[in-house]
């Protein structure tokens, strides 16, 4: 009997241990997934931060650059700088004289290299044009295939047909490496350029600026509106059916899927109001409607936590209701409201779906300069790159995710700091 009981107890204790382990496993699974995801992305992002450059001895021949010999900067800016680079390549490898060889050879450098060269040389209005007729050793960006090869994404072992670089091209690259004419540098252009069709020129500056404009609009609209609404609901509204109705409404608004806000933006802002597609203005409007509930709910909580004695004291010494709120209650509730606003902004920063609906998904190679320019935002840029076939975009995408996560960490960290610093218990 006792034996049976102790066996039963043993079984129960085993069940107890198992149960506990299940719980721990569940948490470990979730955290392990998080760790796996972040480390995979970080590892994949590394190649995006470097870029391969090739050194070429370029001859700035007047025949190509200044056809009519007028030394006119505007005329020269339109000249075929890419051809100069091509000629330098041909000079570097004189053995490649067949048409086919030349075609392969010119694929070693970026197709945008000439454009960047001309921009660097002719940056100022009063450019010294003495370089024409001379020759110089310059570094130009390699094409993304060469870059991928250097980063070991293209393997020598693969059959030539299935490789993006043929044996001849690899031979040229090897000789460039042997001569010290090929090096890898930190890819500053990733932070300086907007999107581009060629991976070696694609950057996130345009998307970051777009995000910035969009978030600025979102903050300017949703923060005051949210705080005012919270003040009304907490301080002015008499509890009753209308107030309840508004409260329920706000809670439901918080639960609507973000894509439905995109539909609203499309139907209302684009179709009825006729605002411009893809603009940060419309994006900001949509996102501010989305973040409004977050701001209202957190600000209401912050206002609620301000003790009534503060209000009574203010009213007791003759302050009006508005003075009580603006001079005493609101300043005390401000850290809470700001925390809510930052959390709402962080969510808006990561939002993708509604912005796709209002056309922020277009390919935009220019950096937006105001809120009406067509723009894209960081998460949408990631989505756009996810659709691109080139291998190099995959690491760009991961790098863009890292930048996005960096901003999110900063914002959430700020929110935590704010809460720690100003949290008060009455």
């Amino acid at each position: 009997m006792i034996d049976k009981m102790s066996r039963h107890t043993k079984k129960r204790y085993q069940a107890e241990r198992r149960f506990k382990i299940y719980g721990l496993l569940a948490i470990m699974f979730a955290l392990g997934f998080l760790g796996l995801m972040l480390s995979t992305i970080a590892l994949r992002a590394i190649p995006a931060f470097t870029q391969t450059y090739i050194q070429l001895t370029v001859e700035f021949s007047a025949k190509i650059l200044d056809v009519d010999n007028k030394r006119d900067v505007k005329q020269i800016a339109r000249a075929d700088f890419q051809k100069i680079i091509r000629e330098a390549l041909y000079a570097e490898f004189p053995a490649a004289n067949k048409r086919q060889d030349k075609k392969h050879l010119k694929k070693l450098v970026s197709s945008e290299a000439g454009y960047h060269l001309s921009r660097d040389l002719l940056a100022a209005e009063t450019t010294d044009l003495n370089f024409i007729g001379t020759s110089a050793a310059i570094w130009v960006k390699s094409s993304d295939d060469v870059d991928s090869f250097i980063k070991d994404f293209i393997s020598r072992e693969v059959d030539e047909i299935n490789r993006r670089l043929n044996d001849q091209q690899i031979g040229w690259i090897d000789s460039l490496i042997a001569d010290g004419k090929l090096e890898t540098r930190f890819n500053w252009d990733f932070f300086k350029f907007a999107d581009s069709r060629s991976p070696e020129d694609a950057g996130i500056r345009g998307a970051v600026m777009g995000s910035l404009f969009t978030l600025a609009i979102t903050l300017m609209l949703s923060f005051p509106l949210g705080v005012f609404a919270a003040i009304y609901l907490e301080e002015y509204a008499k509890p009753g059916r209308i107030t309840d109705f508004i409260g329920v409404n706000i809670n439901n608004l918080a639960a609507i899927p973000s894509i439905v806000f995109g539909l609203l933006g499309l139907a209302l802002f684009l179709n009825i109001f006729g605002m411009s597609r893809s603009s940060p203005l419309v994006g900001g409007l949509v996102l501010s409607l989305m973040t409004l509930p977050t701001v209202i709910i957190t600000t209401r909580a912050a206002l609620k936590s301000v003790p009534p004695s503060i209000r009574e004291a203010a009213l007791g010494i003759g302050a009006s209701k508005m003075q009580t709120i603006l001079h005493h209650v609101l300043p005390l509730a401000m850290p809470g409201a700001l925390t809510g606003a930052i959390i709402g902004m962080a969510r808006a920063l990561g939002e993708t779906a509604p912005l796709l609906m209002i056309g922020m998904v277009a390919f935009i190679a220019d950096i937006p300069t105001n809120i009406n320019d067509p723009a894209t935002v960081l998460p949408v840029q990631i989505y756009i790159w996810a659709d691109s076939p080139e291998r190099a975009f995959e690491s760009k995408m991961s790098a863009a995710i890292l930048v996005l996560l960096f901003f999110l960490i900063v914002m959430n960290g700020l929110a935590v700091l704010l809460r720690r610093k100003y949290e008060r218990r009455w």
């Binding site: 609507i256 899927p257 439905v260 009006s320 996560l405």
Partner: protein, 415 residues
């Protein structure tokens, strides 16, 4: 255009500040002249309130006029009035008129404070109504476009039709020129992915919550809980990226070795990643409700000789059940409305299947693919997106209301 916008914003701000200080100055001057005459006169409001009153009178007419001008501009105004400059002039002149009207009313008896406070409370009221208007706008735009859709496609075809191919041909003689809008396969795909996600999220979320609230040391809790919450804070596009470029290829290779046919875009990959994403929604809400069960119940159960896990299974979970069910419902509504993960990992073609290793499509994916790109607003193709959006809206709203109802109705009241 942007420059005029910037200028008009700047000018109106200048005007407002001028109006405020003008009001303050006039109030002080009036006060001085009147108190010089007799000490009996008391000024009702502080100068600041007079200033604010003038500023409000400056702002409202110009704002009203500007909005009216902006809405009438495209269709109803003559050329010379529709120009940017004309708008600017209107804006400024309305503001100045308001200013002069208001500053004339400054006097000792004038109750500027009352007026300003009323205006203030009105602004607060209007702001809180924005949320209501938004809901209203969502419902109206969805209902309106859905009605238009159903005038072209019958309700029964949409709800019960099995074939979904929204492409409408440009010419009448092309193949499949009519397009068919049977959404059953889309609903089935949504259901499949949501089910997979919930199968992952509910047990893991629930066990995490139980461990956090019952077993974990305070120290473990303080670092593990925020880490778990990070999962909810990561943008969904990141999950989509991970699902499409890491999980899906991994599963395809793995299936290939086992001899399974797994397509590169599968319901499984999307559902798995989505399940992980919503773990914190289940766990943090469940954690709260389990914590809310009073300690006396735990103590009573322990006193009867139950082990901790028995207490949890037989006492705490039944007591916390309404809260847990509602958290699961809220998480389900999240999963149904989630877009980016499924867009990137689940596939675009409608496919009526229960096989989780095949590509299926969801409501959100279809809304997105129908609407991204250029569109005309009369074709059933674009309108179908609104009909799907309406279904999505009703579904998530229904789940939320149900979740609230359950909590309110079945909540155990301890005292």
């Amino acid at each position: 255009m942007p420059y005029t916008t910037t200028i008009s914003i700047f000018v109106s701000l200048c005007l407002l500040v001028t109006a405020y200080f003008w009001g303050v100055k006039r109030a002080i001057a009036t006060k001085r002249s009147q108190t010089a005459l007799s000490t009996q006169v008391k000024f009702h409001s502080l100068p600041g309130f007079h200033g604010a009153y003038v500023a409000i009178w400056c702002a409202i007419p110009s704002l009203v006029l500007f909005v009216a001008w902006q809405t009438l501009r495209p269709n109803f105004l003559p050329q010379w009035l529709a120009q940017d400059m004309a708008g600017l002039v209107l804006l400024i002149s309305a503001g100045i008129l308001g200013l002069f009207f208001a500053q004339k009313r400054i006097a000792s008896r004038f109750k500027a404070r009352h007026k300003v406070e009323t205006a203030f409370s009105l602004v607060m009221l209007l702001s809180s109504l924005v949320a209501v208007f938004t809901t209203f706008g969502v419902v109206v735009s969805l209902v309106f476009e859905t009605m238009r859709f159903f005038s072209k496609v019958s309700v029964s075809e949409f709800l019960f039709g099995l074939h979904w191919s929204p492409q409408i041909a440009l010419r009448a003689d092309q193949v499949a020129s009519s397009g068919s809008f049977g959404a059953v396969s889309i609903f089935a795909g949504t259901l499949l992915i949501t089910a997979i996600a919930m199968l992952i999220a509910v047990p893991i979320g629930l066990f995490s919550a139980i461990y956090m609230s019952e077993y974990a040391t305070p120290k473990f809790r303080t670092w593990a809980k925020p880490l778990l919450e990070i999962l909810a804070g990561i943008p969904t596009v990141v999950y989509g990226f991970f699902a499409a470029l890491t999980i899906a290829p991994f599963m395809r290779n793995w299936g290939f070795e086992l001899g399974l046919e797994i397509s590169s875009e599968s319901a499984m990959a999307a559902g798995l990643v989505m399940g992980v994403m919503i773990i914190p929604f289940v766990s943090s809400l469940s954690d709260d409700v389990i914590n809310a069960v009073p300690q006396t119940l735990r103590d009573g159960s322990a006193a009867l000789g139950a082990t901790k896990s028995e207490t949890i299974r037989l006492v705490l979970l039944p007591a916390a059940l309404p809260g847990i069910v509602s958290s699961v419902l809220l998480a389900t509504s999240r999963a149904i409305g989630e877009t980016m993960i499924v867009v990137m990992a689940a596939g675009l073609a409608a496919n009526l299947t229960a096989n989780p290793f095949q590509a299926v499509t969801t409501v959100t994916v279809q809304i997105l693919t129908l609407l991204v790109g250029d569109q005309e607003f009369d074709s059933p193709k674009t309108l179908a997106a609104f009909a799907l959006g309406f279904v999505l809206f009703l579904l998530t709203l229904g789940l939320n209301i149900l979740a609230l109802k359950i909590v309110n109705k079945y909540r155990e009241k301890y005292d």
